[in-house]
Symmetry: D2
Subunit: 130 residues, 4 copies
Amino acid sequence: MHTIPIQIRFNDVDQMGHVNNAVIMEYFDLGKELFFQQHGMPPEKADFTVMIVHFEVDFQSQIRFHDRIAVETEIEGIGNKSLKVLQRVVNSGDGHVCATCRTVMSGYRRSTGKSEVIPPEIRALLEKKE
Amino acid sequence: MHTIPIQIRFNDVDQMGHVNNAVIMEYFDLGKELFFQQHGMPPEKADFTVMIVHFEVDFQSQIRFHDRIAVETEIEGIGNKSLKVLQRVVNSGDGHVCATCRTVMSGYRRSTGKSEVIPPEIRALLEKKE
Amino acid sequence: MHTIPIQIRFNDVDQMGHVNNAVIMEYFDLGKELFFQQHGMPPEKADFTVMIVHFEVDFQSQIRFHDRIAVETEIEGIGNKSLKVLQRVVNSGDGHVCATCRTVMSGYRRSTGKSEVIPPEIRALLEKKE
Amino acid sequence: MHTIPIQIRFNDVDQMGHVNNAVIMEYFDLGKELFFQQHGMPPEKADFTVMIVHFEVDFQSQIRFHDRIAVETEIEGIGNKSLKVLQRVVNSGDGHVCATCRTVMSGYRRSTGKSEVIPPEIRALLEKKE
């Protein structure tokens, strides 16, 4: 499982005293980015890329400033034009899950501005086990 | 329909040249907050509140720095312990939808730390048409 | 005076109950960006641009979620290779100043990666009164 | 020297391709917070606290997504009602300084809403070497 610790910032915490929901999406974003890099995906500005078209998130327990947390990322499935990513924010102390995110990403070619089949070489990179 | 214009900030736009997905969640967050206020909901720090337990988002078209956009917010349904909020980021120029968010919020009492039935007076406030 | 209203977001407010200092810098950033645009400056990605090399900020009074605020921006001076921008966040209700920012920006050419004299045509644009 | 590594997030980088200036202030903020905690300062919500009244920042070199950076924090001086904090963002690879921040913080009592002399016990905590 691809796992990165997350550094919580002071201003990630809102007036409710817990990490703001929108900020948790930044954590998932970073998890995806580093997962893709580690798997040798072309850089952000390459002509072929994958873009988020849908995500759904369950918020299971609140995160506070002093919590130690990590983001886990794995591929749930790769279709013809899209792939599914499963992620969790987990508490590194006792392992409980704080939030779960399922993301659908679509192959996209910048030069055409259109969605595109995920090429076999990208598929191979993503299916590679860590 | 409860609608607020959104002011896009320079640093909402990431290196891909469009508004970052996590930032779009800040827009939806602000839409909810102002919707609840306008409907007379107790302030953020009241003992009874509603908390986000789930959301799912479709990203339909990219948002750029110079786009004029707005967030629309409405109640989709109110259950016993939860309510559903439907929101859209729309382009104020031609009206196309950039992103759609469905949120499930749960009644929550701070002093007990437990989820709680949505009281009739809150239900009445939220069912009130704008 | 170039003035833009600022839309405060829910998560701009930190656990201290006021708008976080780093977030106030986003307000100043947006003020500069829109000031430059209005004065016809080349877009962000043009080869010649101006970059922030220094700023100093006085925080005079706290900003809360429901405050109505605006950012005022003006040119304080234009030197050979740099320019000085003066900005204030003001409360639109009673006009009191919440924060004052003085920024030094330097002419910069991307293709050379070096600082550069501010060309006469840019100087003319910036000296133009609103 | 109190030093913390900083985790750069994907959306810290703006469309110019470098970490946004306002975001760098979040790094300095986190550095201060953790410095104060390590020195045993009362928590954020204690009645006596210190608040930022002024900062000035030199941006010496751009920060990119893949850079490894750290924030260094030290006390420059403690006056009667204020203290001065010196911070640097340094590149952990070759040690060059990316940004330098000098902050003036003022003693502040929440219950009175007034600035206040820094009490001897707080002064002692801050003067303590790491």
